[in-house]
Amino acid sequence: MQNALLLAVGTNDLWYAVPLVIVISLVYAATRHERTDMILASAARIGTWICGFMFAIFLVLALMSWRL
């Protein structure tokens, strides 16, 4: 129960990561490509990769803090 509450509080803060993920994906992709379609496709890939990485870290931390 306590873990679920902590998770709910933390989820609110995670919204601040959304604009950052979008901006980082777009700018990084735009520095690697010149054509708009390739920039968007690359940005989508990078954004997905960042979200996946964050989720993996979340899983590791959740497992480590299990029953703490």
Partner: protein
């Protein structure tokens, strides 16, 4: 991150570049402009859509970070009690981060900091003089303590946003100077495909 040298050198300084080349004009001037105002270097090179993208994304992130931190998360301080190393990455955003240097100079030379319309102490390094706090468990707190307390997590969030904006602009400066890391060359690809589909020519003689 390796840059494609042939593409950028071929286009550098040439007025009419072929479609697969990126016209970089004067790369050093473009890089300087890109640092000063995010996107300005690309605008100067005629890469207008990327210029708008960089301007909106980087400046938007920087301003949102400032808003979260109420104008206090970007400041220059090298005092032993408060080494603000974050400022080095925030400085990557260029002109928007420069008022912090002016404010720090004025404070260090005993002058009053410039007052901005929205926030009185915009980009002013926080005072480290401890003052007694009434009704608080702490004996005394300086302005940085108070900022951390009042802004709470927004102090860190604002710092992260402004730092990310500055660091992203470093990539943009590099792009303005050297062109994209992976230049899209449809014309060259088509040529390669055509060459590979043609039968090998017989040796003469």
């Amino acid at each position: 991150m390796a840059k494609a040298t042939p593409s950028r050198t071929a286009a550098r300084g040439s007025a009419a570049a072929s479609p697969d080349q990126v016209p970089l004009r004067d790369p050093v001037l473009a890089a300087a402009l890109a640092w000063l105002i995010p996107g300005a270097g690309h605008w100067y090179q005629g890469r207008r859509s990327k210029a708008v993208l960089f301007f909106v994304c980087i400046l938007g992130t920087f301003i949102y970070g400032l808003y979260l931190g109420e104008g206090r998360v970007v400041y220059a301080s090298m005092r032993s009690e408060d080494r603000r190393l974050h400022y080095f990455s925030q400085l990557g955003a260029g002109l928007p981060a420069l008022p912090a240097l002016v404010q720090a100079y004025r404070v260090n030379h005993g002058k009053d900091p410039i007052k901005f319309p929205i926030w009185d102490r915009f980009m002013v390094p926080p005072s480290l003089v401890k003052k007694p706090v009434e009704g608080d468990r702490r004996d005394a707190a300086d302005e940085l303590d108070e900022l951390q307390k009042t802004l709470n997590r927004y102090f860190e969030l604002g710092t992260v946003y402004t730092m990310v904006a500055g660091l992203l602009n470093v990539l943009v400066i590099y792009d303005a100077w050297g062109g994209p890391a992976e230049p899209d060359m449809p014309a060259k690809k088509e040529e390669d495909e055509e060459a590979s589909s043609e039968p090998p020519s017989e040796p003469s003689g």
